[in-house]
Amino acid sequence: YAWDANEEYLFKAMMAFAMRRYSSKSMTQISNVLLCNVTDRVSFWFVVTDSSKNVTTVPGSEVEAAIRMNRNRINSAFLLSDKTLQFVKITSTLSPPVEPSTPVWLIVFGVVLCLILAGIVCLVVAGIHQRKKKNKESTERENLEEKCEVTITVENGIPCEALDLKAGHINGVFAADDERFTSL
């Protein structure tokens, strides 16, 4: 926005407001705030007069303290900030950074560590499980091989125990037909 007489009026009003809030005795009027040396840069000097005390100026320290107290109201009236609206010789107080009770990084670290430990435990348990299975398999195979070594008789590739020698099929061609052979 452009700086014109209306903005100057607002500025005088804000200064009067700040002085009223600060010193609480005040009958500070807009007419008490005087601007001078207004430049195109939009910079100017101003004084606040005190009408009750024979038109003397209010000491600078009081004005400074008043501005300091109401800085954010003044800033927001002009839609500016501490950087863009500068009062010479008044430095802004620094707001402390927000510090949460538990540092955020500890929380993230906790999450990461839990994931890692869960992964390690899973892998180790899976490894032990696999090893037990392999051990069981290898002992079974060993036992079977032992048995085979003792009584291994293989008939056409089939171990004899698999063949049930008691239950067999009688081959009709060879066994049944006794009358084929002529009797002597």
Partner: protein
């Protein structure tokens, strides 16, 4: 009766699930943090695009032949580095022990760098980022003094992360936050290497490919930032005059050598898990080219971001000057813009020179900002973090960046740990009784306990020492003996026959010449030049000392004698194994030859082991 055939011994050796896993592991091992923060720096200080000439020459005559040699060796012998070199010749056993020792030393400190990355990563989840603002001092009247005099980013790195001491002799205390992160990092390494290549093979799919994804994202974003083109032009503008300086050639040779992670024993370990009939020649060329292309690809986003940072710094400098001029002369707002700044300055200098002089304006020069080149941890943790604050959505960029750094480093750690793990598995003292999980756990635990030294206040000075002495000279020596050993002890003819048996074709003239003459010669020259340069300048380090007058500049200090002794020990110890083991075997041979019943073991051949 048919007797079931005997199970061949090779089946019990673990195997890669597929060829892609193996190639990815080699690429992940070779592509590490150095590709990101050393290569762009070298490109920048050695004349931009002109640096690529010595770089590719070194790649052709040093990198690819040595890489092929190591991969073929591991694949043929199918053993880890110690037993492989013992098999080639007992006198060369020291080469294997030396490379094992180097892998141990490098693993120790490399994971601490990853600890720092992890610390930054878990701090990136805050809004605003903790390194963007200075903390307040005790009575809340202003900012913390150390932070105010340097920058917020520097403060966070040197004080909040490292809590660095002003001198390498002052050890300071253990930093508990770093210990936590170190434990987490070693736990991650244990998780991924718990069963050797069975587990790293799965992990590498993520850790080796993710960095490329993030680099692409950063590339696209970086190119859209203002000032990116300045940075890229600065990086790639060739200045051929620098090629006259031999230092440039030396840096190119050493960069190729260390970038490919040769002589660590890790590549031998990786290729030992391959089936013997595998084309190692193609693998070597692939890995080397991918590594170099990655370096180039990574330097583009790095320099876009650096250009962006330099431009922003330059604009800030201009803006501060403009504000003071406007305030002084009471000119209207926006009368002086960045574009007409120089015109205004010359006008005002001619009309009111005393006023201008009184303002004490800082001279703003974009070149000066671009010239601030840093490599190594400074690039990642100071410069890049500062650039990230300036980008919108900084948390996301920070998180992405640090995950990328972490995966780059982790995939290299896998190779380092394999270089330690595989030879140990094959030692007869250890092998059968201990389970793989237990052995890797013991290795990780011992390494964690030793690496606690690096979490002291002076830890980063020690890491610099380890990096400069344990990770450089011994590798050159070991690689030299590797090439000489294969070319002249094992004999190139035999090696060529082995390679022909594995790949199906005889190694052509290029390989013969480079293996026999060029690579050993080049390595010897590089080693001598490197050592000469190191000896010429007395070793010193830059200390961060808040009480120094020139603070925030770092203070140059010399190493005290006991530290120099440790440096020498780190450089000499792995190399010393080569002559020591040779001597030991010589003595054993002399004693044995007096014994008439002793039978000379038969000559080893690659095909004989596998037929």
């Amino acid at each position: 009766l048919s007797v079931p055939p005997e199970v061949p011994k090779e089946d019990s050796r673990p195997k890669w699930d597929n060829k892609f896993q193996y190639i990815l592991s080699c690429i992940g091992f070779a592509v590490g943090l150095g590709n990101m923060w050393r290569f762009p720096y070298l490109c920048q200080i050695h004349g931009g695009g002109a640096f690529l000439i010595p770089y590719f020459i070194a790649l052709l005559f040093e990198g690819i032949p040595l890489l092929h040699l190591e991969l073929a060796l591991g694949q043929c012998l199918r053993k880890g580095s110690i037993r492989a070199w013992n098999t080639i010749s007992p006198y060369l056993g020291g080469v294997g022990v030396g490379s094992w020792m180097v892998s141990v030393l490098v693993s120790l400190y490399y994971n601490t760098v990853l600890t720092w990355v992890m610390w930054y990563f878990i701090n990136s989840f805050q809004e605003p980022l903790p390194w963007s603002m200075c903390p307040l001092n005790k009575n809340r009247t202003g900012f913390n003094e150390e932070c105010y005099r340097s920058t917020a980013v520097n403060y966070f790195w040197y004080r909040k992360t490292l809590n660095i001491t002003p001198d390498v002799t002052e050890s300071g205390t253990l930093q508990w936050w770093l210990i936590l992160c170190l434990a987490a990092c070693w736990a991650i390494v244990y998780l991924c290497t718990i069963r050797g290549i069975e587990t790293t093979g799965k992990a590498i799919y993520v850790t080796a490919t993710f960095p490329y994804l993030v680099l692409t994202i950063f590339l696209i974003h970086g190119l859209t930032l203002p000032g990116a083109t300045d940075g890229l032009a600065y990086l790639f503008t060739p200045n051929l005059n620098t090629l006259k300086n031999p230092r440039v050639w030396l840096d190119a040779a050493t960069q190729i050598f260390f970038s490919l992670s040769l002589a660590f024993g890790g590549l031998i370990a990786f290729s030992s898990y391959n089936s013997p009939k595998n084309d190692c020649e193609k693998d070597a060329v692939t890995v080397a080219i991918v590594n170099s292309m990655t370096s180039l690809y990574a330097s583009i986003p790095v320099f876009s971001v650096l250009g962006f940072k330099a431009t922003t710094g330059y604009w800030d400098c201009l803006d501060r000057n403009i504000i003071s001029i406007i305030n002084e002369f009471d000119l209207p707002e926006e009368s002086i813009m960045r574009e007409n700044y120089t015109a205004w300055i010359s006008f005002l200098n001619s009309s009111h020179p005393e006023k201008i002089a009184g303002l004490k304006l800082k001279s703003c020069d974009l070149q000066e900002f671009l010239d601030q080149s840093v490599s190594g941890t400074g690039l990642a943790f100071i410069i890049f973090t500062q650039a990230i604050i300036l980008m919108p959505g900084s948390q996301a960029w920070a998180i992405l960046f640090f995950i990328m750094l972490f995966s780059l480093g982790l995939s290299s750690m896998f190779g380092n740990i394999e270089g330690v793990f595989t030879p140990l598995l094959e030692l007869r003292i250890i092998s059968k009784s201990i389970r793989k999980e237990l052995l890797s756990g013991i290795i990780c635990l011992i390494s964690f306990l030793i690496a606690l030294c690096f979490t002291l206040g002076s830890g980063s000075y020690w890491i610099d020492i380890f990096d400069s002495y344990a990770g450089t000279v011994p590798l050159l020596v070991i690689a030299f003996f590797e090439v000489i050993g294969v070319a002249y002890v094992y004999k190139i003819k035999r090696f060529s026959k082995d390679v022909k048996w594995m790949t199906g074709r005889k190694p052509n003239l290029y390989w013969q010449i480079t293996w026999r003459f060029i690579s050993p010669l080049l390595l010897l020259i590089v080693f001598l030049a490197f050592v000469t340069l190191q000896i010429q300048k007395s070793p010193s380090y830059a200390a961060w000392n808040p009480k120094y007058e020139g603070f925030p500049m770092k203070e140059e200090k010399a190493y005290p004698p006991w530290v120099l002794a440790i440096c020498a020990l780190l450089a000499v110890l792995p190399c010393a194994f080569v002559p020591l083991v040779a001597l030991f075997h010589l003595i054993k041979q002399l004693c044995r030859s007096k014994d008439p019943s002793f039978v000379q073991p038969e000559v080893f051949s690659c095909q004989g082991a596998n037929s």
